[in-house]
Amino acid sequence: MAASTDKDDRGKGTPSMEERSFECNICFDTATNAVVSMCGHLFCWPCIHTWMEARPQDTPTCPVCKSVIDKEKLIPLYGRGSDQKDPRESLPPRPAGQREEAPEDNNNTGYFGDGMFNGINVSFGVGGFPFGFGLGPAFTIQTGRMGGQHHNVNIGHRGNRMHHGRRGGQEEEQRKTMARLLLTFAILFIIMIIFT
């Protein structure tokens, strides 16, 4: 009972209705690592996780209202100072909150060029002689920088605004095709270097 801290002491008194409204519906204690279901019921993440695993053959339902619940649709609640260490960290991590960037104005992004190549960058360096295709900054492929012995391929996908973006579907499609083409080209190039 080493973990019986102030939370326990509060439990001994009469918890006010206000305090009780933040109690987990499963352990009846103040919710820690709190998540809320789409139907609005509050749980500790370890508690609701255990419940969802308890009857794997059934569709998980909310313990309070029997509404169908889904791990992906639980919303974590981040209060102030909610990330305290506790033993439950051995359990699977709580689902992450989902964020979406507000759309940004594309006119002042300062990319080189515009149009369908915007956002694609493939550059490879071989030995001491890097050469690159500067087509904007979404893919970076680097090979064998250190004298051709080690070939490593980094594909960094940046520029999130593309996903939520204001680009037309066709343009997005073209961009993807172009990226794939360049990637294939780059890989062939690397293989060529290796086997010659």
Binding site: M1, N25, W51, S90
Partner: protein
Amino acid sequence: MGGASHAYKEMAFLKRLKKEYMELKKSPPPGVVLDDSVLENNITNWIIHISGAEGTLYSGEQFKLNIKFNDKYPFDSPQVTFIKPYLPVHPHVYSNGHICLSILDRDWSPALNVSSICLSILSMLSSCTQKVKPDDDSMYMRFAPSNPKKTTWVFHDDSV
């Protein structure tokens, strides 16, 4: 890791039982009285006295419930039986004290608690229109396991 998590669950299990105990002591639902003479020794074995509600077939009668918790509580339902001979004559209560009630089996939810179990049982008694034993009582007596949780229940009657 596993040991720590088990210890944590064990602690949460006892913590919740203590909390329920305090709440049931302090503000029990009408007709429900916790007998804590037994409970002193073992917090996982409760005895509860319930009295039939006024204006129902069971008005003025006293019954005794035994509630046993395993360490999977509240994820697993407790074992709830009437104690002989303090059991009601009711179409869903067998002569060995076993109760055919869906919330004690497949409809169990960890958000339920001792208080809500008692209320469900009281409501099951109150809505009864005929004091009869279950149809298959004698049959069940022959084959019933000692633990009602091991019985495969069929819930067919939503009215009582």
